[in-house]
């Protein structure tokens, strides 16, 4: 007879020991202290540069937005209008919205850049997203059963999610999630999967419905009715352009975000492992549960610096423009502790995610 798997075996299943080293309590504490020191140094240095950076990004984003809306009046410039509006929406959602709503710029005291006031150009109400993202996802990153970003409730992205014939559709669901990403994010908080499995009552969603509907109406009114109507006879073209811009943003955001936690080698954790976890272990989990994308400044800007997903998860409330500078130190610390630092070019990370989506669709091989 095989004995019940011990606690340690359970842990080992989740963390690939070949690549990932486990740290002792003391090491974890030291590791945490080094991370805290980086954090403190950046906090002490926040100022004019960070403020003018984010204001500049906002200015450019507004510029692209206005240019995009205006160019729809010139039918030959349609592709340019779509490009401009897509850039605006990507910048607004990623480098501005995501980061501002993380509280990265709360210290400036500017209500226009404050996490409690800001809402993004996206059908998901900022208020609901902040709860599921800032709290649930960032606190319980890659903890199975807690972090609902693992598979977003519809995909199988980890071996420890029990296989079911439903998951044969994994690639299809992922594709649909990519196309309708903003809608997926908006529906995320409704925890539909938990309603299906009976652990959540549909009444619990009542309060959320109103917020989502209000936001959806506003977004649809603007993008699919008012702006097209303002271009008069060009209504269909403008309408199509706005749909396309939202679609491009959806595809881009989905790809960047899926590269953040799903490439091969990213670790997941059990709830037992994370009970009463120390600050050092939290940092350790954030590091091992995230993956970066290499690239130049444009890549970092257009991904809202989520190309530095590792640094973002270690320091979610530091202005994202600081991640590249912090990354060198984080990498050096990882080398010293022998910890894996998961990074690679976009195509490699994407390929790895795609492979996972397909493999997880199939039942696990009996070993």
């Amino acid at each position: 007879m095989v004995a019940a798997p011990s606690y340690i075996d359970e842990v080992l299943e989740h963390v690939d020991l070949q690549e990932t080293k486990r740290l002792t309590e003391e090491q974890l504490e030291q590791f945490g202290a080094e991370m805290d020191a980086i954090r403190q140094r950046i906090l002490d240095d926040l100022g004019e540069k960070d403020a003018s950076y984010i204001r500049k990004v906002v200015k450019y984003q507004r510029g692209f937005e206005i240019a995009g809306r205006a160019l729809f009046y010139l039918p030959p410039a349609w592709p340019l209008a779509v490009a401009s509006l897509s850039i605006s929406k990507i910048l607004e959602n990623m480098e501005i919205g995501h980061n501002v709503m993380h509280g990265q710029y709360d210290w400036m005291g500017d209500p226009g850049l404050n996490s409690r006031m800001y809402d993004w150009d996206n059908v998901c109400p900022g208020e609901q997203w902040k709860y599921s993202h800032n709290y649930i996802h960032h606190t319980f990153t890659n903890v199975l059963g807690k972090d609902r970003d693992i598979g977003y409730g519809i995909l199988r992205m980890d071996e420890d999610q029990k296989w079911h014939p439903y998951y044969l559709g994994n690639p299809l669901y992922a594709f649909l999630l990519m196309i309708f990403f903003e809608w997926g994010v908006a529906m995320h908080d409704l925890e539909v999967e938990n309603i299906v499995n009976g652990s959540r009552k549909i009444e619990e969603n009542k309060a959320l419905h109103a917020g989502i509907m209000r936001k959806v109406k506003r977004q649809a009114l603007k993008d699919y009715l008012l702006f097209p109507a303002l271009t008069g006879p060009l209504f269909p073209l403008t309408f199509a352009g706005n749909v396309t811009a939202n679609l491009i943003r959806n595809i881009w955001a989905f790809n960047i975000i899926f590269c953040g936690h799903f490439p091969a080698g990213v670790a997941t954790f059990t709830q037992e492992e994370c009970e009463d976890e120390s600050r050092g272990h939290w940092y350790y989990r954030q590091l091992l549960g995230s993956a970066n994308i290499t690239g130049g400044p444009l890549m970092h800007l257009m991904s809202g610096n989520l190309s530095h997903q590792i640094e973002h998860h270690l320091f979610p409330d530091l202005p994202a423009r600081r991640y590249p500078e912090v990354a060198e130190e984080v990498r050096e610390i990882c080398e010293r502790y022998g910890l894996q630092y998961n990074t690679g070019p976009l195509h490699k990370q994407l390929g790895s995610v795609a492979k996972k989506i397909f493999t997880m669709a199939l039942p696990p091989k009996k070993g």
Partner: protein, 373 residues
Amino acid sequence: MSTTAPLPALGRRILGSKVLAALTSPHGVDRYLEMINPMWAAQDVRARVVSVHRENPDSDAAPVATITLQPTATWRGHRAGQYVQVGLDLPGSAKRMTRCFTISSAASTPGEQITLTVRAHEEGQVSKYLVAAEPGTIVHLSQAQGDFTLDESPATPTNNHLLFVTGGSGITPAMSIVRTLLRDGYDGRAGRKVTFLHYARSPEDQIFADELAEIAAADNDVTVHLFHGDHVFSEFELRRLVPRHRDTDTWACGPAPMMELVVAAYDGAPEHRLRTEFFKAPKPAGSGSAEGDVTFARSGQEAPNSGATLLEQAEALGLSPEFGCRMGICFSCTSRKTEGTVRNVLTGTTSSMPDEDIQICVSAPEGDCTVEL
């Protein structure tokens, strides 16, 4: 300065329209307008500094200045005695600091100019910046706030006796009320008996001295009594000057020691006879001890400071503030601290600024502390 003139009425109508709001959703019209001209706004209130006038040029105490502000067309006006929150993007720090200042000018109508009379406190970064502000500087404003006002409808004026007792910078709200009474009264008269008692450190520190002398000299029903130096407030003197003070509608504003004496002088008077407004000066950072009291203003709960985080202390009192990660990353628990010093338990840094948004899950009070919860 023509580029920072407030908007004409038609522009305001267009900017405030529902269609424009829908087109600029979710950010709102103002987030676009501010990039073109800071004096254009549909909701936000900002103001341009028109002029700065030093009130106590001969004093060696902290400078006091009257700042004339031209607000945006969104300014709804104010009732005499109200205050306004002024936000400044201080150069260098990139942090917007917001402080409350009483409006010293007479009641204003929408879009009308107002004045603030500000004492530059040693630690007061905002007040120091304001008294030295260059004309043309843009500041952020709230709408006017506060109930320390002449609470009578101008449409149905009464003619009962009014009494103002003020000390130091506390003169500003009373000044605004008296200026309004004289402006809106009949023929430069307040139209009723008004008694104005003011206590200043010295004649050199007396602000509005010339205007007060004029008011005192004119035949306008206003009696002014100015006291300087060691001549501090006493109930005995108040009785002498206003024998039925407990039956007289009174407005008192000044430093805490004076206010204690004034409040005592109205002990037993009919409720609401005395209206008070206290200064809120920044308190020096605590000694690092956990003593003092923690006050949760909205729920009215108060308890000795246990030294735990504000979130834990609130929960210990049976409150259930919103929270998420409990480790300072998710900003779910952000609340406004109105007074006191808090220490960030992660970084060890302390902060004593009034009206500051803090994450209560990682903030422990040092000494007295008040949080809006």
